[in-house]
Amino acid sequence: MDTMIDDEILVTQFKAGSQKAFDTLMKRYERRIFGYLLRSVRNYEDAEELTLEVFFKAYRALASWQPKAKFSTWLYTIASNLSIDYHRSKARKPEFIFEDEEIIEKRLVATDISSNPEKHLEDKEKGRIIREAVDELSSKQKSVFMLTRYEGLQIKEVAETLGMAEGTVKIHLHRAMKKLQTILQPLWENNEI
């Protein structure tokens, strides 16, 4: 029933010394933060390390944190900053490593590929091409796209998370969409995806 308790109340409880309150917050957001970072860095091990870092930073800073925005928005802000630092430190575009996807698949409910393995591989390849197109977006465009599309954040919340104006968020979103269209349209016209 802990989902009924507001994040802010849990934060207050944590500040009052309740370790369990932080565990509840972590359980509540670990999947979302991990999913966001995994899409951002496309590497399972790195996404795990970054998720750990997000909650480590949150734990250390939570005592002095003031709820100017939602707790979840704050977590996404930490995650976004770590993701940007990650891409800077790598100084290269994230690579698709099949091993990572295999690790994910092992951890997920097994997909039934026995019926048509060729089709499965073909779909997997198409998906990889499309995700490469997504990774062609700039870090801000990708963050805006991911946060609005897959994390369910409103434009206003994304603006708070990334520390930019709502208008700027919209501009990044429009550019992301146009760039994706520019990359993907020739591919679907040639039946490559």
């Binding site: 565990d23 972590m26 359980k27 670990e30 999947r31 979302r32 991990f34 999913g35 995994l38 899409r39 996404a47 795990e48 998720t51 750990l52 909650f55 480590f56 734990y59 250390r60 002095s64 003031q66 100017k68 996807e101 994910i104 951890r107 997920l108 409910v109 997909t111 779909d123 997997k124 198409k126 998906g127 990889r128 499309i130 995700r131 197109a133 997504v134 609005t148 599309r149 897959y150 434009i155 919209k170 979103l173 429009h174 969409m177 146009k178 994706l180 269209q181 993907l184 349209q185 679907w188 995806i193």
Partner: protein, 205 residues
């Protein structure tokens, strides 16, 4: 197919589900007339469909990192807690103070209203327009002047009548005095009163 740049941003927002609901009917009406925008919306919808499918394959349903809780507490135990500096403590207290101010909005507004009422009560209305104040002052002065003028006419009228009783026989002074009062009281109700007194005085003599 003609280009329709004007609606491109709306086409993206529409496909993305972010278009302001107030703009939707107008844009949908535009779509019925514009093949270019209809095509764009379809393209953007296809982009989203493809990306959603690819990202859905990548993470079919939410997954949690392995043993996060244990790893976090292990890391917390390894890294010593830093003692906060004096500056960070000060900024922390300041941010807390600002936060209380922001949170206690109702109390702040009440305090502000109480302060305004106190100033208005003890000092005067600080919001009153100065030019308006001057205009009110002139009005008051005019009223006072008129009041003094009436009082002066009444006093003169009373004097002339008192003199009549004192002198009794000599009406000339009284009549001339009442005539002067009547002249001064022209345009007011006092002129009628002076006229009435004049008639009475003349009838007495």
């Amino acid at each position: 197919m003609p280009k329709c740049k004007k609606f491109e941003a709306q086409a993206i927002d529409y496909a993305y589900g972010e278009l302001d609901s107030a703009l939707v009917p107008n844009f949908e009406n535009h779509l019925t007339m514009c093949n270019s925008c209809t095509s764009k919306v379809k393209d953007f919808e296809r982009v989203l469909h493809l990306v959603d499918a690819a990202e859905g394959d990548f993470i079919p349903h939410p997954i949690a990192p392995h043993n996060l809780e244990m790893r976090l507490y292990r890391k917390l135990a390894e890294v010593p807690v830093e003692n906060p500096s004096l500056l960070s403590r000060f900024t922390d207290y300041f941010s807390r103070f600002m936060f209380i101010l922001q949170q206690q909005k109702v109390a702040s507004v009440c305090l502000f209203i109480a302060a305004v009422i106190s100033i208005a009560f003890f000092v005067g209305n600080p919001l009153q327009n100065k030019s308006e104040y001057v205009a009110n002052g002139l009005d008051t002065a005019d009223a006072h002047i008129e009041q003094y003028r009436r009082q002066d006419i009444q006093r003169s009228m009373e004097d002339s009548l008192r003199n009549k009783h004192l002198r009794n026989s000599d009406s000339w002074d009284t009549v001339s005095q009442l005539n002067r009062v009547k002249e001064r009281a022209q345009g007011t109700d006092l002129a009628n009163i002076a006229n009435k007194h004049l008639k009475n005085v003349n009838s007495d003599f």
